[in-house]
């Protein structure tokens, strides 16, 4: 079996629209699980995920693999969207408007489908990671501590922390996608 196409290639100019579609499908469940930790409303979770990916599409050229895995970049965008929504009292739609995305209305069936996606438990997926990876992911991705600080706290090199974060996120994504 061949290796999956790296995120940087999917986001690069060669990836095109199809590349972004693969990128979206690869990460959307993790992003929804992430935003679902902050809101239990399916409409808000969908808006947050949509704005996160719209922003990622607009700024895909800014993704820098040397700064961490793409899912960490997406979580960072989602985190900013959540913070902005808390300040404004509503989820921004700036990037969706810019890209011409229309609002997705949730009827009962769609809301139920969204709730099923939201039930994918990020905490559970995190709990299933080896302790070292779990701590690295939580500190770096969720708490946004600098690699240098985590390395100093844990007593190992930054490279080791980067590896733990990267492996932890890969496992997390698989687990949230229902993969092996």
């Amino acid at each position: 079996m061949s290796d999956p196409m790296p995120d940087r290639d999917l986001l690069g100019s060669d990836g095109g629209a199809a590349g972004f579609r693969i990128f979206y499908e690869r990460h959307v469940h993790a992003v929804v699980a992430y935003v679902a930790r902050r809101t239990d409303r399916p409409d808000l979770a969908l808006d947050l995920a949509a704005e996160t990916f719209a922003r990622a599409l607009e700024h895909r050229g800014q993704y820098d693999p040397s700064r961490g895995p793409a899912i960490a970049w997406l979580f960072g965008i989602a985190r900013n969207e959540i913070a902005g929504a808390a300040r404004r009292g509503r989820v921004a739609d700036e990037y969706r408007r810019r890209l011409g995305l229309s609002a997705i209305e949730l009827d009962d069936a769609a809301a139920e489908a969204m709730e099923r996606h939201m039930r994918l438990d990020l905490e559970e997926a995190l709990a299933a990671l080896p302790a070292e990876q779990r701590e690295a992911v939580i500190r770096r991705v969720l708490a946004e501590e600098p690699y240098a600080v985590i390395a100093a706290r844990v007593g190992c090199s930054e490279q080791v922390i980067r590896k733990r974060v990267s492996r932890g996120l890969a496992s997390l994504r698989q687990s949230l996608q229902g993969g092996e």
């Binding site: 499908e25 895909r60 050229g61 404004r88 489908a113 302790a131 070292e132 600080v149």
Partner: protein
């Protein structure tokens, strides 16, 4: 249809249209009159400080209505071992339902502004600008608006807050700062949006030090060296280590313990430093236990938590709202606080609080 499928289709079509990255990011733009005004203010020097306060507005409370939503800003101690400082969180609710939150922890001790949020005004929705400051700060400048700080019971002693609710379309302009750089060819003058700034009681600027840049292997100056552990290893035999005796339910996941503690100068009396933290999971609910010391004088009795109340039937045990991180339940022990924080129930926090033991934190600083 599955809404995530619909969203994927829409994004695919948008990517096909290849409109991504076609437009620049929204930025503050300085108009000529504003540039001129900024230059005049800078030239005016000290008089500008007085003018700033003269035109200032009072702070809104740390909780209240923001359009159809409600907001709450809270502070709770930063529990990570080796760290000092606070976690500041904003919780948003609508009709009693949780809508979302944002949070940040840490920051350099002694900085006049320890946390802030300043966003561009919205055309159709109210926005919230806020800053948590030390007691030395009399007002905070958000763009062209100056907001006087206030003290509140939900803030730790020695801290103040400036909160501004910005009506739709009435946000503070960016304010502009003129920067003069000497170059080989002469001088280069640029203007840039003014950051959130702390002003003293006379309206004069209090400089906020630029955060130090961390190099690989380095740590912030206030950070205390810690040792990491994770099961199946037991916690290290250090004075501050948190131990458990096997209560069924809470399972330790990892921990950090300080090997020594030194006083941190320049922090308010209410500041803590954590000498140990341990993360527990209890039926997938994360609970964090920590040992907190007085940051300025380790070994002396640490300060009370904001809004803490005695727990009925539990002598010496207190509970305080911990904001985004969940309630904080603690008991004093020999110049330290032993605390448990998390989203679990009070019964869970109490059970864990009575379960954990610490060897002898006092010997860390004696």
């Amino acid at each position: 249809m599955d809404p995530l499928q619909t969203l994927g289709d829409q994004l695919f079509e948008a990517a096909l249209r290849n409109r991504a990255a076609a437009r620049p990011r929204r930025r503050w733009r300085g108009s000529r009159p504003l540039v001129a005004l900024a230059a005049v203010l800078l030239l005016a020097g000290g008089a500008a400080g007085a003018a700033a306060l003269l035109n200032s507005r009072p702070s809104a409370p740390l909780f209240g209505a923001l359009g159809p939503s409600r907001y709450e800003i809270d502070m709770s101690p930063y529990l990570n071992a080796g760290e000092t400082g606070w976690c500041v969180g904003v919780i948003s609710t609508e009709q009693g339902r949780f809508r979302g939150w944002s949070e940040g922890c840490g920051g350099a001790p002694g900085a006049p502004i320890i946390a802030e949020s300043f966003s561009a005004p919205e055309a159709h929705h109210a926005t919230l600008n806020w800053a948590i400051t030390t007691a030395a700060v009399g007002a905070v400048r958000f763009g062209d608006h100056v907001v006087r700080t206030r003290s509140e019971a939900r803030l730790p002693k020695g801290f103040r807050a400036a909160v501004e609710i910005v009506a739709p379309g009435h946000g503070p302009g960016p304010g502009l700062v003129r920067e003069v750089t000497r170059t080989r060819g002469g001088v280069e003058v640029r203007t840039r949006p003014r950051p959130v700034e702390a002003l003293n009681a006379r309206g004069q600027l209090i400089h906020q030090r630029t955060p130090e840049k961390l190099t690989p292997g380095s740590a912030p100056w206030w950070f205390q060296k810690t040792v990491y552990w994770a099961p199946p290893q037991p916690p290290p035999q250090l004075p501050c280590s948190i131990h458990t005796s096997g209560l069924p339910g809470p399972e330790p996941q990892w921990g950090n313990v300080a090997t020594a503690v030194r006083a941190i100068p320049g922090v308010p009396d209410s500041a803590f430093i954590s000498c140990a933290d341990t993360e527990f999971y209890w039926s997938h609910t994360p609970l964090e236990a920590a040992v907190l010391l007085d940051a300025a004088r380790p070994g002396s009795e640490p300060a009370a938590f904001p809004q803490m109340n005695p727990v009925a039937g539990q002598p010496g045990v207190f509970d305080a709202p911990g904001g985004v991180q969940g309630h904080l339940t603690g008991r004093r022990m020999n110049g330290a606080w032993l605390v448990v924080q998390g989203a679990g129930s009070l019964a869970q926090r109490l059970a864990l609080l009575h379960e954990i033991t610490v060897l002898s934190p006092a010997s860390l600083w004696r």
